[in-house]
Symmetry: D2
Subunit: 142 residues, 4 copies
Amino acid sequence: MAYFTSRTELIVEWGHCDPAGIVFNGRFFEYFDLGTWLRFEVALGVKRSEIAAVFGIVGYPVVDTKARFITPVKFGDKIEIASIVKEFRRSSFDVEHRISNQGQIAVEGHETRVWAGRSPDDPKQLKSRPIPADVIARFSRT
Amino acid sequence: MAYFTSRTELIVEWGHCDPAGIVFNGRFFEYFDLGTWLRFEVALGVKRSEIAAVFGIVGYPVVDTKARFITPVKFGDKIEIASIVKEFRRSSFDVEHRISNQGQIAVEGHETRVWAGRSPDDPKQLKSRPIPADVIARFSRT
Amino acid sequence: MAYFTSRTELIVEWGHCDPAGIVFNGRFFEYFDLGTWLRFEVALGVKRSEIAAVFGIVGYPVVDTKARFITPVKFGDKIEIASIVKEFRRSSFDVEHRISNQGQIAVEGHETRVWAGRSPDDPKQLKSRPIPADVIARFSRT
Amino acid sequence: MAYFTSRTELIVEWGHCDPAGIVFNGRFFEYFDLGTWLRFEVALGVKRSEIAAVFGIVGYPVVDTKARFITPVKFGDKIEIASIVKEFRRSSFDVEHRISNQGQIAVEGHETRVWAGRSPDDPKQLKSRPIPADVIARFSRT
């Protein structure tokens, strides 16, 4: 099963960069997050702010993530974030992100996320839920 | 009516600083927020994570804020945040923050916040509520 | 003297929002910063990452800022940031920002910034410099 | 060779948490960063803000990182960050972080960092440098 890739561009802001003049590593996880929301919005055809309500979840929190920083990204750089779901499992899924800077790969990222709702036993806790087949199907179409 | 001041110290982190080597201005509003939560925690005798539940509110969002940056604050500086409620009104209040760096005033901040719950008409909206007299009374004691 | 306004749009990210579901107040100062860089980039005709080098400065740090939060901004909202320099003085200037959400004003912001280079006496310190007349002139043209 | 662990505590701030009420994943990389600086400060006996100047580097940027989120961390939680260098190589090293929440492991993190200075050919570029033997030796003592 091959899925589709979402792409978006952004300009690196001053407040994203540290005293070494490069993007602080934690900020890239905001970029990955943005990539994942966009990928879901496009695949599901639902605005990102409505996804939780439409599918009866709280969200899809990250349970595992990693990143490899290949070339530095600096203030003012126009980067592209390309995001693709690589695999769906029962209640979790993997997203891969590639950040390009002037056509060269700058950062590779990976997230494992869980499709999560409120726990029926304790609404303050999150609990994984099976990903609806219809959700998965939409990723193979768009 | 004179209220009390809460004080806390923190060390400025690398990721809080920008390419000019100084704290990015937006980060100071995190420091102010931290000062306000501490002030309430101490005055109310309730853990900050329990305040919303105990008092039946969502929180006290900022509706007006300002800051004056007097001397630069840099990576690794140990700063003190001193926070005091200056005035309570029916459903809003003013907090003043002074950030000191090695004994010198570095930043002055001001927040106006609203005591807010969910709107009865639309639970997705916030709505101001009267601040309980007991809440205000505790600020004159601690 | 009337100056021009720069406008840009962005979608509010998940990581910009707090547990009340609205943008954390400190994040708006990142949006203001972005507005100021864009305004300078357009007026000066120089990429934001080159402005410091081209004009021999470190940047234009904020010395005074304020914001008024009129209506809440939430995850996924598409907002417009409109930024205009209101006044240039010898070595400082004022920028005003208006953030609109679905056509309604949501946040008003104000920054006073200083045109700053390294101090000749101590390169670790920043020092204000006179704003070149040519810089100011470009703001009345674009 | 066994090295030492640095430990520090912090309280999770409101602005670190997302609309699901848990720490936004990117923020944990700020916590890891803080752990690494502390580990170096203690081992080297040099204030974190002086390390770059004392050792003639720009810093030790992260080239590879990962995190596993085991249990949620929420607003107001008092967490402990335990950080240890696991291995030094010629010009890079590995740091492991364990974040505990009320005595339970909540997050495991890993960073590979490079000991980096300015490139002699292009001072705007960073370039890896051999880690001084004396630096490594201090980690086995403290």
